[in-house]
């Protein structure tokens, strides 16, 4: 290389260095900012709340990073590192076991006043192996809604089935009860429960029973034969094994009863449905109800907060904003889900639908325990098993007793593997 060329290379390299130095963002730019990751609905709502009031913690700026969806948020959090991850992540309670195992969630201790604002079940939802990882935000549950233009409030499952069979042709009904929100496992668990089964049995002191039979096969099979199958052992059409199209059909008035999620109730309210018709799925006997998961979503502390030097700031955000009644009311007035904070639940600004879902959860709610449901044995999680059960008995014509026995066996295995992790 001749001298002239060498000097030119030097000039180019120097220019490049100067430009690149200008382009590199300052490492100190994000200091004392607590970064919160949230999905596409919670993120914008949190931003709205923080735009109205930002001084929840003196000297701390709360920055919300929104993801395109819940799954995208989960994927991003799974891949997060100390350099890219958030200080707080807003997610489902069943993220806690995985997040703790992955070493991404950090323990948090709430002040006694904040702890007193939540039920022990709610705090238990965000606890793994005795360690609390976040603050409960709101109930994540489903409830049953009925079309009051077609039918009245049902008292038993049998009433609902009879109504469907009697009016199927006249009202051009495509199904009786279908799952519009939460899928055939999260949404469908209340139907299993109404029929006599459950993913696990809770003891009166709020723990999971290691000995009780979660799916009493004979009872569940008899109820399936009675309510969901015809005389030939095929589905009577009352309860489809799939959730596809349910919401559209219910809104169109061709399904009288639907299980809907509390995250989507405004769609039904906008279509003119009365939110006072929300209730748990009735059981086979009057006064009994099918239990649905009534767990909370949470704002969870991550280990990255310490790496970012905002561990105390993030803990303060959890206590002063997410954990406070004022923070919960401000947020739920925008988010419109049933708040987990007991003081916020009583606030006058909470809507009928929020209270309806809260009431439904209180009447027939069971905690959603990820350590058991996510399936420690052979990858057969509750989320895969229950849809498969519906398919087997309602579509493939398999014997309900045999299928219920298999379901019971898997559930028992998951309970046995999950209890030591609680």
């Amino acid at each position: 290389m001749n001298k002239k060329k060498l000097s030119f290379v030097g000039v180019v390299a120097s220019a490049a260095l100067v430009v690149s130095a200008l382009l590199v963002p300052s490492a100190n730019a994000a200091n004392k900012t607590v970064i919160v990751w949230a999905d596409n609905t919670r993120g914008p709502n949190l931003q709205t709340v923080l735009a109205a009031k930002s001084d929840w913690v003196p000297g701390i700026t709360i920055k919300i990073v929104t993801f395109s969806g819940f799954d995208a948020l989960k994927t991003a959090f799974d891949n997060a590192t100390a350099l890219t991850g958030p200080d707080i992540v807003v997610g489902a309670n069943d993220w806690v076991p995985t997040g703790a195992k992955q070493g991404k969630l950090a323990p948090v201790t709430l002040s006694s006043s904040v702890r007193a604002s939540f039920t022990s079940n709610n705090l238990g939802d965000l606890t793994y192996k005795g360690v609390l990882y976040g603050v409960p935000l709101d109930y994540n549950n489903v409830g049953m809604i009925y079309n009051s233009k077609l039918t009245g409030k049902p008292l038993t499952l049998g009433q609902m089935v009879n109504f469907y069979l009697a009016n199927k042709t006249a009202d051009k009904l495509t199904a009786g009860l279908c799952v519009a929100g939460g899928g055939m496992s999260f949404g469908g668990v209340s139907v299993l429960s109404a029929l006599g089964g459950a993913p696990y049995v809770m003891t009166p002191n709020g723990s999971v029973s290691a000995t009780a039979d979660p799916v009493p096969a004979a009872t569940v099979a008899a109820n399936i034969n009675k309510f969901l199958l015809d005389k030939k052992g095929k589905s009577n059409g009352f309860f489809p094994a799939t959730d596809t199209g349910c919401k559209t059909a219910f809104l169109a008035g061709t399904v009288p009863y639907a299980i809907i999620g509390n995250w989507e109730w405004t769609d039904y309210a906008k279509a003119g449905f009365d939110m006072s018709t929300l209730m748990p799925v009735p059981g086979v006997n009057h006064g009994q109800y099918g239990s649905a998961f009534a767990s909370v979503s949470g704002a969870m502390l991550t280990v990255f907060a310490a790496a970012h030097g905002v561990d105390q700031g993030a803990k303060s955000v959890l206590n002063n904003f997410f954990g406070s009644a004022a923070g919960a009311v401000a947020y739920q007035n925008v988010e419109l889900r049933p708040p987990a904070n007991k003081k916020a639940q009583k606030d006058a600004s909470v809507t009928a639908a929020q209270k309806g879902f809260g009431k439904s959860g209180a009447m027939a709610g069971i905690p959603q325990i990820g350590a058991i449901l996510n399936g420690a044995t052979g990858g057969k999680s509750f989320w895969d098993l229950l849809p498969a059960f519906w398919t087997d008995v309602l579509v493939n014509g398999k014997d309900p007793l045999t299928s219920a026995q298999k379901l019971d066996t898997f559930f028992q295995a998951n309970i046995a593997a999950g209890i030591p992790q609680l």
């Binding site: 195992k101 992955q102 201790t109 596809t244 002063n320 895969d384």
Partner: protein, 513 residues
Amino acid sequence: MEKLFNRKVTVTLKYLVVAFVSSLMLMLIMSSFAKREYAISGFLTIGLIAIALTYLTNYSIPMKFFLPGMLFLFAFVVGPILYTVAMSGFQYSTGNYISKPDAISRIIATGIRPDANQTTFDIIVGEDSAKNLEILASDPTNKVYFLSTATTKTDLDPTVLAVDENGDATKAPGFHPLTPDQQNAVDQKIADTRFAYSSAYFITIEGSNVASLKSQTLMYNSSTDTFTNVQTGAIYKDNGVGDYANVANKVELLQPGWRAPIWFSNYTKLFTDPQIRKPLVKVFIWTMVFASLTVLTQFALGLLVAMIMNRKLFGRRIYRSIFILPYAMPSIMSILIWGGMFDTEFGAINHLFGTHVHWFQNAMYARAAVIIVNLWLGFPYFYLICSGALQAIPAELSEAAAIDGATNRQIFRKITMPLLLQVVSPLLVASFAFNFNNFNIIYLLTGGGPSNTLGGDVAGSTDILISYTYKIAFGAGTQNLGLASAISVVIFVIIASISLYGIRRSKVLESFK
């Protein structure tokens, strides 16, 4: 115009472009180095040097054309392959995501437990007269107040304290509170400090105004690389596969674990672990059937339509446009629409035919649905290819054969088809390879299902290798990225072998010799 593009201008432009690209790369090098991504930083540095040597000197003229492609090839093809191969040699699953030092620090952190009553104190963070970090702690319910540093605890007489309306102390002699900004500046120090309480317990800060009583239940001994539970006496030792296991009960593990090298274990599991081998074999067979059937049906329909459209027809141009529509529409949209149409209760297909077929709940029907939808999506491609190829076959050949007495079927079998296959063979191989890894159609249409989960199946009936691998890597329950990487490497080897064999058989590369 000619003056505008004289040598000086083009050379200046070249240097500007090189300077701009170099700036970007330098920025990325510094950024990746700062983020401790040394492999990326190293690659970018080599790339930067290569760019400088190639475009600022005349060592190699051909390299000026090849270099950008080669850099992208290494960055987006070779790099990910090497990374996947490397990951397949690790215990890299839920519970084993982080490095060993990180895992140790996480275990130590989760080994700090609140006391049985979960006692908390309202606190103010400040400093003592010697500028040591100190907290003024209040328990207004029990009227307990004290000052605590990392080494000392001083109980305070409530009568000499200033308290607020909640009963929390606001001032104490010799205590100097920190402002919020001062607290933020020493956040890490506050987080790391264990304030004195008693011999069994210490206090940690849980935010700007809350502290809690804690004790250390798990103690780490770095010289023996073991953890000891101070309450039970249990000892946890490195089990060699990324976890600390209880010496007395080897299935009891401390969490989290770490990414540990397990060399070829993930590969041997594919053949030796029946829980992995059985579904894998089933999925592999269906993947081969799916890819073969897809290529055959798409080619057959595409060819049929092309032959029909090759004849003079009224409105041929309109038909051609219509036939290309499925190809022009975004496939994701088409798949989702088809998914809705196949729905049992509410779908158009069952409504139109007056049937009640459970398309996505029955394995046979689900597989048929996948093939049908993929046929719809893919036949226009083969129609376009076959149309061009058919028009390129000289008409004289068919005419001569007809004169010699050949029937239409004989002309097709002996002349049209062989000539056509010469052109489309590489595309058939490529299509097979594409469909072997056609994740979208499976994921969006059936999600891999239905699955006979109650019968013990792990994989779904329509799962192909790539969707099954995705489930293993990113499924809802336990994720196993190491095993998924091993399967990915196997898929890569299969696809590469089939493609190489197909290309050699079709002799398509001979023209390059």
